[in-house]
Symmetry: C2
DNA sequence: CGCGTTTACGTCGTTCGTAACGATA
DNA sequence: TATCGTTACGAACGACGTAAACGCG
């Protein structure tokens, strides 16, 4: 058995049991891949795939379990490489992050700037998508870190570190009637206007709807969009009252928009950062984690590295107060 | 990186950083091993070992972590082989068991006979030793199953399945004064005579001593030995009153010895069988587990296989009554 | 000088890519 | 006939073993 054979095997699986496609992905010849698969199957004495004529049909039961193990092997081999690169003080490497628009646009810029400064030679890839899409990236081993809010159930392969909490903010054009209200805004005030907010994801971003329902009200959702920038555009056009994550209520918006704090109106959300439980983290990855969640001490980071189970992490953060992220000011601080 | 390089690396480590010895163990030439190590270090860009002149001095910090990972890789490769062999219905394989004398001599014979009958072509290796020695066998990956009583703390690498419980028996030569006592024997009766029993292992077989101490008595330990056969020999010679595991109070002894039940006099012991948490079990291994612990149903065996944590197993057996193993009769039944 | 490692080198087995062939829809 | 996998074969590469050199105690 050779590592290459396992690599080829996984490539075949990940390319829909198409050897030709796998060979291309591997930058090698198709007969070579075919032959190595055959050798592997011969050595093991079993069929990993069923054959339909000459083509590969499906994965056998034995194949399934072997593929599972092969992935562990390749992951550990990758871990050995990472360990070595890290001890070598290798300045080579790359960091791939899967996250949502809000994080990518409003939270990460400052953090990434700091990271860049510290590790100028480390490549950075920002993959943007919905929670579901990020989960797919995790499954395909495309990203080192996932950053999202809620949807924890989609990420059972990852260890999730709660990072900060946030409220929503209400944004309206300057001079909007809501700005004339001197007392704290209530949900009753809001139902008077069409709301412009995020598209509800499949899992349950409907916490917004529920907040209204809990007071016996029905929200008047006028328009939903995937990201805060789009929402703001439509708010500027007078389509309604925007409700976005506070982080998205940027300083620069305040020229033509007014931001109204909505603390307490809606449940607080928690944003987490997750990493594969079985992957070794290189130094720069731990540093990134630290930049993103600076409330975690170096000692705790070390504990996290060893933890290995979500329960251990949850225990670490039980009764722990997470930082609260607001808009304008926080981002200014982070960028400095 | 090649699997062979990792294999060589581990062989070097397991042979005290002696490349020559490692090469012999691997049935290959010494320069070959040396070269592959060098190639691996070159590829990784780090030193795994420090050098004292030309000899290997010690393992570097990076090396330590790499070796750890390499062991996982090799274990998973072995697992792939096992899976394949199992699906192939391969009748090849071997089963190595590490256990104590009492099990090897009095409990396992019947079980192994049954196993042999079912899997005549599977090689069987019985390694006998103290708990500590068995723990070493586990560390060196020499055995598939460990069977012992107590000393759980030595086997954190294994998943331990509680299998049965047992009491001690008192054995005396025929006509011994103790046999004249018609009521149930008490510890007070026993302190009158020198006792012949097991050597106390380091961890705490002193449960026997404690049983006496709890009643304010001091046992008169006349002689200790490692196994019941030796103890019985000395009891026959009239050196004292023997206290052994009930399983060791064999039918055949009853010609010249008398066995007195000591149930309740001493705390009950639990014998467990353990296996590596990260190793795939072949079918015959699961079958052996079933033979040894027949109170576990097929469904539970499947659960055990998936469990992976000691907590899950403990949960499975919480409030579960384990079989109680006596002497003569039980063994006769098992052998049948 | 003995022990253990590395270097050198010839041999042999393996892998790889190209090209041709076979099978399937 | 287009697509995909296998077989065939020569070239290049890599692993292995022997022999010899090197370094350390």
């Amino acid at each position: 058995m050779k590592l290459q054979q396992l690599k080829y095997l996984l490539a075949i699986v990940d390319n829909g049991l198409n050897i030709t496609a796998a060979a291309e992905r591997l930058y090698t010849s198709q007969p070579g891949v075919s032959k190595q698969l055959k050798l592997l199957e011969e050595e093991l004495g079993i069929q990993i795939f069923t054959r339909k004529g000459k083509s590969l049909g499906s994965v056998t039961a034995a194949g399934d379990r072997i593929i599972e193990r092969a992935r562990v092997v390749m992951q550990e081999v990758e871990n050995i490489r990472r360990l070595a690169a890290d001890y070598y003080e290798e300045e080579d490497g790359s960091l791939s992050i899967g996250t949502t628009h809000t994080q990518a646009r409003y939270v990460l810029p400052g953090i990434i700037a700091a990271f860049r400064k510290q590790f100028p030679k480390i490549g950075l890839n920002l993959h943007q998508g919905t929670s579901e899409q990020i989960a797919d990236m995790v499954a395909g081993n495309k990203i080192d870190f996932a950053i999202a809010t809620g949807s924890q159930e989609l990420f059972s392969d990852l260890l999730l570190v709660p990072s900060y909490r946030w409220d929503r903010s209400i944004i309206v054009p300057r001079g909007h009637p809501l700005t004339a209200i001197k007392r704290k805004i209530t949900l009753h005030d809001l139902v008077e206007y069409p709301l412009v907010t995020y598209v509800f994801s499949f899992n349950g971003e409907s916490s917004l709807k529920r907040a209204f329902a809990d007071e016996g009200l029905e929200a008047n959702i006028g328009f939903t969009a995937r990201d805060a920038d789009v929402i703001k555009t439509y708010v500027r056009m007078g389509l309604g009252v925007g409700i976005v994550a506070s982080m998205a209520a940027d300083c620069s918006d305040r020229e033509d928009l007014q931001v109204i704090d909505a603390e307490g109106l809606f449940p607080r959300s928690t944003t987490w950062i997750g990493y594969r439980r079985d992957a070794v983290m290189r130094r720069y990855m731990i540093e990134f984690l630290h930049l993103f969640a600076p409330h975690i001490s170096a000692g705790q980071l070390e504990e996290l590295r060893k933890a290995g189970t979500q329960e251990a992490i949850d225990e670490l953060f039980r009764n722990r107060k997470l930082p609260l992220r607001g808009g304008c000011d926080d981002n200014a601080i982070a960028a400095a």
